[in-house]
Symmetry: C2
Subunit: 331 residues, 2 copies
């Protein structure tokens, strides 16, 4: 099993990628390897700082370009065939690696993944699936920002993609699917969610538990929370920032009263780095998207996420459930 | 100046309404009165518990019905002409009171307000304006849930309504208007926000500062945050619940280590009860909507919000800016 890791994506590349990758290699079995993609000289310099790195399981593939945060995603992917994102995904397309991980521009990773890997049959719109920590178990939010102006049928596909992922990767059988909405009753919502509610209720293969309001999310009332990528993205980014804000506020206001270690412990389980990356579900491959601000720990955890998707044969499962053959049976 | 207060709206009605109302009467001047609307006998029982209440500034208007939380809003308003919400708004329509406050069903208060008060000229869709506390000054979120499937031109109206309110009620000149979106660049977003961005940029009467991402909100980067009511409602409800959750979590995890008073102090300024009610902007009257779970303090603060809107002659200001005569000049 081999994973391509874009070494140029984080704010502190390639140091963070190399450190996270080496940590993953040391904890994973001998048949697991990493292909670092990016500026080979810089990657080697950083690798040299980790003498304990198992070099026989490491490959470095040079990519002379990098796509920068400000660039228009689709244009950058076309214009920069030698960027680490495009080169890494080409390796995955050719199945020389089993997954691709990047903390680079989300838009560029999505665009390049769609272009290189294509969609799985039966999937209209791949979607980003992200963990949201709750007071109970974490839930999976899908879509966290890959799509806007989704149609009701797309939300149903997100529900299926999310259910498969939660079932396989998180080993939760018969996952509860909730629809993010502004009221509990079926008739509440905008045009899209009212119709999506109807379709989800009719989908006998899904364990649909109804609408979930903003105030309910933190209780963890479902395993898969379905949303259009607009509201999903606002929610995700707000949640991350407000968690960090309250963590900082508590630290500042209680400074000196409680040891920092204890204060940090309060927010255990609410740190996004703990959960690693977010899979782009619905493409014919395994793409994991990480934060630009990821620390090495998040990269290591993203590798774990990728490994799980490979080992549980996620792509085959999605094809069986969503592919054209399944379509008539399922709806 | 007199305000009608729906006495049947909170989860602990009419105790909460009576306590909050009496508190407001005691701190406001002698020319200020409250009309409690609801079950007169129960209101009187609760008033009797406050011997210090200035009875000459209190009126009780009986309304034998109440609209219940589960009821379909529009139907309930039609079916229950003797409900506290409909009776209270009739008083305001006849200008026997200067404002109406309710912690009852938001949908019913909106529907009844539209029906009784009508929209101001030039306003297509009234919107709910709510305070969001931030690390800096609080900002005004509009729309927090009155409308779904808003058109770009509606978002521009929300921007104007919110700007007027922040200028007058919060005394912030030239308020900065942000558009809730999923990226900073003008071309980011869904169909509606891309076009709304263009319109807001072209509106020379507004101080438009651009798109605001979910992660930026907590910094307080604008005074007025414009959004469709779907995402606005999800955001507001999530924010309220996550604040309460972290407050509880900190209390639980640091129990015994820090006095509760100090822990509570960390979340000072993030308690919604501090801010009272949310005005429904754009109707020809002053309707303030409160949480069902409001404590007396929130009711007292909602009365303060109503009083401010009356004293600053908000309705006249909105008419001057948004009315048909203004329309050609402003756009």
């Amino acid at each position: 099993m081999r994973i391509a890791l874009d070494a140029m994506g984080t704010d502190r590349h390639p140091a963070v990628e190399v450190e996270g990758g080496v940590a993953a290699l040391r904890e994973l079995s001998d048949d697991f390897g990493i292909v670092f993609v990016g500026d080979a000289a810089r990657i080697e310099t950083h690798l040299a700082r980790w003498p304990e790195a198992p070099r026989d399981r490491i490959e470095v593939v040079h990519a002379q370009d990098a796509i920068l945060p400000g660039e228009s995603a689709a244009a950058a992917v076309r214009r920069k065939p030698n960027s680490s994102i495009v080169v890494g995904l080409a390796l995955h397309k050719e199945r020389r690696v089993d997954a691709f991980i990047s903390a680079g521009s989300t838009g560029a990773v999505m665009a390049a993944s769609l272009f290189a890997l294509r969609r799985l049959p039966g999937v209209d719109r791949p979607a980003i699936a992200t963990i949201l920590p709750t007071a109970a178990q974490p839930l999976l939010l899908i879509d966290a920002g890959a799509n806007v102006d989704s149609k009701p049928a797309h939300l149903v596909q997100f529900a299926r993609l999310g259910s498969i992922y939660v079932e396989d990767a998180w080993r939760r059988p018969n996952p509860r699917v909730g629809l993010l909405n502004i009221g509990e009753e079926p008739e509440k919502g905008d045009e899209c969610t009212v119709e999506a509610h109807r379709l989800l209720r009719a989908a006998t293969d899904l364990n649909f538990v109804g609408n979930i309001e903003g105030r309910d999310i933190i209780r963890g009332p479902c395993d898969v929370l379905v949303a259009d990528g607009f509201v999903g993205n606002v929610l995700l980014k707000f949640y991350e920032s407000v968690t960090a804000f309250f963590h900082g506020l508590v630290g500042e206001k209680l400074n000196g009263l409680v040891p920092q270690r204890v204060l940090d412990g309060v927010f255990d389980g609410f740190d996004y780095a703990e959960y690693g990356g977010a899979p782009l579900l619905g493409v014919n491959g395994i793409t994991i998207i990480c934060h630009g601000g990821s620390p090495p720990r998040a990269i290591r955890n993203a590798i774990r996420v990728a490994r799980q998707a490979i080992e549980t044969r996620m792509l085959g499962h999605i094809e069986r459930v969503i592919g054209p053959a399944a379509d008539t049976a399922a709806v």
